[in-house]
């Protein structure tokens, strides 16, 4: 098992409020790692450090380190733009760009210099297949992405991220608000994708984490309470809090 993403006593504060408290975690390559915990536990903040989207927040202080493949990503010499090509993100609310399905997927590759139409179309086909959306949209790639249903849009967002050939995919509560069938499709897609990508899945839905993740991390109020294989965490959690959360006693 190889470590893909690692944090080392990572501490993130917004003004006076410390949102992540000395989190040390090692996420393994080609796995699905689930981050769970009640709202405000810092899971989304941790993700925003990995994709450096935290750069867009005001008044942030970061201490400690975060590394991908052993190299720090908080270093001044790191180009966040290039980092975001390697780390793709799917957000809780699907946000298609107001253009066609094809253009949505082509957006990333075009930024990186791919202009050949044939190449772009094959990338689109490939990514849409991986996101389990190809069959539903293959005849209408030129139509507006806004016309898709919520579940379809979210799979489009996943496909869009894949187009950049990232190494890591971060998903922040991707299935909240989606119907069970769309949720299932996304979960199936992720299960297949983990062989090529390292996936972190943030979810409030413990059952989802139990279903598809290999490792689970439980966060509470900014601290990493427990982190182990999903099997272990869900059948024999070491911490009382973990057990209470999984059983739904709070959250």
């Amino acid at each position: 098992m190889e470590t893909k993403i690692a944090t080392d006593r990572l501490r993130v504060s917004f003004g006076r409020e410390t949102v992540l408290k000395d989190v040390t975690i090692k996420v393994q390559k080609n796995t699905i790692t689930g981050f769970m915990g009640p709202s405000g536990s810092g899971k989304s903040t941790l993700i925003s450090v990995v994709n450096r989207m935290i750069d867009f927040e005001n008044n942030v202080r970061i201490e400690g380190d975060a590394r991908i493949d052993g190299t720090s990503i908080l270093d001044g010499s790191i180009n966040p733009i290039e980092l975001r090509r390697r780390v793709g993100t799917v957000f809780a609310v699907p946000i298609p760009l107001p253009r066609s399905i094809f253009e949505n997927i082509a957006y990333g590759p075009k930024l990186k210099g791919t202009t050949d139409r044939t190449t772009l179309y094959s990338i689109a086909e490939d990514c849409l297949k991986k996101a389990f959306l190809w069959d539903e949209v293959k005849d209408r790639l030129g139509t507006s992405a806004m016309k898709l249903s919520g579940g379809q849009q979210q799979r489009l967002c996943l496909a869009r991220t894949l187009a950049l050939k990232p190494e890591i995919i971060l998903l922040d509560e991707p299935c909240s608000g989606l119907d069970p069938i769309s949720t299932a499709k996304i979960e199936d897609a992720l299960s297949e994708l983990k062989s090529e990508y390292t996936i972190i899945l943030v979810s409030n839905n413990t059952k989802q984490i139990a279903r598809i993740s290999d490792f689970s991390a439980f966060f509470y109020l900014g601290e990493l309470i427990e982190y182990d294989t999903t099997d272990k965490v869900f059948t024999a959690p070491a911490e009382r809090q973990t057990e209470d959360y999984i059983q739904g006693k709070f959250g």
């Binding site: 975001r84 090509r85 957000f91 930024l111 991220t161 950049l164």
Partner: protein
């Protein structure tokens, strides 16, 4: 004795209704008179031929061309400046003393009446910079005049673009400028275009600032340094010097029609692209 409030209510409703209709009526009367008296004047000859005898006879072709030149060149200069300023204010800074200062500048420019622009353009461009009465002096003056409008409308349009779109673009490894160019500006385009159209409309109707910078030569300006007329200036001179009432009405028709046309395009753009995004 207290008057029944319900009676007052009804009376007031009728009164307000009447005043609203009255206001519309004013507009209808204005447009009606202009069109009724001016339309007989307007034909292809009027539009395409040159004025003769100071405008007593002939057409208004140079004035039309002058208007188009002035409006287009001013827009060409003011749009990058204005949209650029708007982009800077929304994307590159947070509210600070600096942005407040810039906004103060913009609002102040917006509040200056056209005659003062005429005074400024006259002393600065025509005299000090030795451009003489010229298309260039007119363009530069008008550019500054319409700049605040473009900045205001562009800023509103850019701010209206949902923050989420920017976040998505960044997450797909776009840089700030790439995000602005490919996502924010296209989404803000209807608002920006509307602002541009409104500014063109204003430019076309301007007189006080133009007459003292571009001058009022009857010739067609073939270079930036030549003087010329716009339709509004031509119309004013025809009316004031009492040269020809008929030609004045004719000019007014073309002038008002152009402005109407521009406003309609502005509305069309605004509504069409709002529909596209909703």
């Amino acid at each position: 004795m207290r008057t029944n409030p319900r009676i007052i209510n009804t009376l007031v409703r009728w009164g307000l209704n009447a005043q609203a209709y009255f206001t519309v009526a004013i507009l209808v009367v204005i447009i009606g008179i202009i069109f009724f008296k001016g339309f007989p004047q307007v034909n292809f000859g009027f539009i395409l031929s040159f004025p003769q005898d100071m405008g007593r006879h002939g057409g208004i072709f140079p004035a039309i061309v002058g208007t188009i030149q002035l409006a287009l060149l001013s827009i060409l200069l003011a749009t990058p400046l204005g949209v650029g300023t708007a982009i800077f204010l929304t994307e590159y800074t947070r509210e600070s003393a600096f942005t407040k200062l810039i906004r103060f500048g913009v609002e102040s420019l917006a509040g200056i009446p056209s005659i003062l622009y005429g005074l400024f353009g006259f002393i600065f461009f025509v005299i000090k910079l030795r451009m003489g009465w010229s298309l260039l002096a007119g363009v530069l003056t008008l550019t500054i005049m319409i700049l605040p409008t473009i900045i205001r409308t562009s800023e509103e349009a850019i701010r209206a673009v949902p923050r989420q779109l920017r976040i998505v673009s960044y997450s797909l490894s776009a840089s700030k400028w790439e995000t602005i160019k490919k996502v924010v500006l296209p989404a803000a385009m209807p608002g920006i275009l509307t602002g541009i159209m409104l500014s063109i409309g204003r430019a076309v109707g301007e007189t006080a600032a133009i007459i003292f910078t571009m001058g009022s030569s009857l010739r067609l300006p073939l270079s930036l340094m030549e003087s010329g007329r716009t339709m509004a200036v031509h119309f004013y001179i025809l009316a004031r010097e009492g040269i020809s009432m008929e030609k004045a009405y004719g000019t007014a028709v073309v002038l008002v029609l152009s402005i109407l046309f521009i406003n309609i395009i502005a509305y069309y753009i605004m509504n069409k692209t709002i529909a596209r995004y909703s």
